[in-house]
Symmetry: C2
Subunit: 284 residues, 2 copies
């Protein structure tokens, strides 16, 4: 049998982005901690599905017996960076019953009437679930900063609010994993060009994407500040190089697997008398 290469350094270590992060020094084309090539990366993704899936089932099973722990994966990125591919190829490997996925769009008029965390709170994962946020409350310090949709004072306050909010989540049993898919401007150009080239991809293209692209540096700066201000030991950011889709996928798969493994999950013990139930069943 072919040997599937493993990470030499876990992404949980290699990709951790603390308050001292320097985004400009992280190469979007790199593959930290993984020495294999694309083909080996794809094999790694396949090989990692079963372990992740089993851990998810234990998480789910424990919740049926009163545990209220859960996991929240937050995905943030520039357009075309591959959030959708992560959802499909990484999250898609676990049981849909155990996943709560939510894509946050531009806020509705109703949502705008409330504080920026209001709509986020409504979508938090239930006990035993893996919640996946495709965009999140971070939009309120990213696009809001770049587009000046809020005053600098308001945005400053939001970093603290986010820290408090996430600390509360962690306290109540939700493990928070924050991922920035880190794409290069050149790679985005190629991916946008592909969307324009293929008729089955036109629906994914929005002329507004070029307006955001024009603000590339401003967005990088906004990410830099957001990570500096909100990466904490309990709710850390991971910057995942995303120019190679296969790498980003195995990295996030491993991040999720590490988080779940660290929760020391186990199959719930029977709360009934197994022998007695066997006898009752046999008599039916």
């Amino acid at each position: 049998m072919h040997v599937v290469p493993d990470f030499s350094v876990s992404p949980t270590q290699a990709l951790l982005a603390g308050p001292d992060v320097d985004l400009a020094r992280i190469d979007p084309h790199s593959t930290p901690g993984f020495d294999g090539n694309k083909q080996e990366g794809k094999a790694r993704l396949e090989a990692g599905k079963k372990g992740l899936s089993e851990l998810q089932e234990k998480l789910f099973a424990e919740s049926r017996f009163g545990s209220s722990i859960s996991v929240l994966l937050i995905l943030q990125a520039m357009d075309t960076a591959g959030k959708g591919g992560i959802v499909r190829h990484v999250v898609g490997a676990v049981d849909p019953q155990g996943v709560e996925h939510h894509a946050f769009k531009a806020p509705t008029p109703t949502e705008k009437k409330h504080d920026f965390l209001w709509r986020i709170r409504k979508e938090l994962p239930g006990p035993g679930m893996i919640g996946v946020f495709d965009r999140s409350h971070y939009e309120d310090v990213l696009i809001h900063r770049v587009r000046q949709l809020a005053t600098p004072e308001v945005i400053e306050a939001r970093y603290d609010e986010i820290r408090d909010f996430e600390a509360g989540l962690v306290d109540s049993g939700t493990r928070v994993v924050k991922v920035m898919l880190h794409l290069s401007k050149e790679e985005q150009k190629e991916r946008l060009a592909e969307r324009l080239e293929r008729k089955d991809k036109h629906w994914k293209y929005n002329p507004g994407d070029l307006d955001e692209r024009a603000l590339w540096d401003e967005y990088q700066h906004a990410y830099q500040v957001a990570i500096e201000r909100t990466s904490t030991p309990d709710a850390p950011w991971f910057v995942v190089p995303a120019d190679r889709k296969w790498y980003a996928r195995i990295a996030v798969q491993q991040l999720l697997t590490d988080v779940l493994a660290g929760m020391q999950l186990s199959w719930p013990k029977a709360t009934f008398d197994v022998a007695a139930e066997k006898a009752k069943l046999a008599a039916t």
Copy 2:
């Protein structure tokens, strides 16, 4: 390359259960329309994933351009019949972004205060989504009938309410596929025994399952009446023999594929000037 056998008769035809259904005459161990064995069935499941996934993506894509169509798969069955396996192995093959899964449990006090369709309406799939109900409003004419949780008059009225409700769904663009996984009493016994045998399955076992099992015939009758009264050309029931898990999975996969194929989905046409966008992108 190995040839994957196809259905000789589509499950959409072979498993259709109209008002003249006779559940007692449908063999839970049979494999209507499929002549292959288990191994070939498993190959069929793998082979069918891509087509279903592509159709789902088109459904989703159309919704981004104003279409409000969606699909609702309703799963009903006795315990251990394999609803979870359908979700994992059939629904699990499509993009999690395009799936809204909801498992209905015993109603909460709040839900009980409302009419029985109230909680159902809140979980209907959004535009472009495939909604999956693990149990549904049919519990209100199944367990409610068997356990006499409502008067016969109330239950009688519910069949009509369900027909009207589902007709409304169909009118508003939701295709409704109702599946009863049809298990034999003997096979359930084996599956419950397995749950008792394996420590990693104990969490799926509930002593109350045996109480429901004791009412097997009453449940079969309740299903029989429910299908008679609520199977309509627009919202048909399909009785899927479920003693062989692999067959139930390929059958439901094909039912979903047929429904989506019948919607004549296509990739949305670009609403922008492709050449102009290409030029703009090239200049960035």
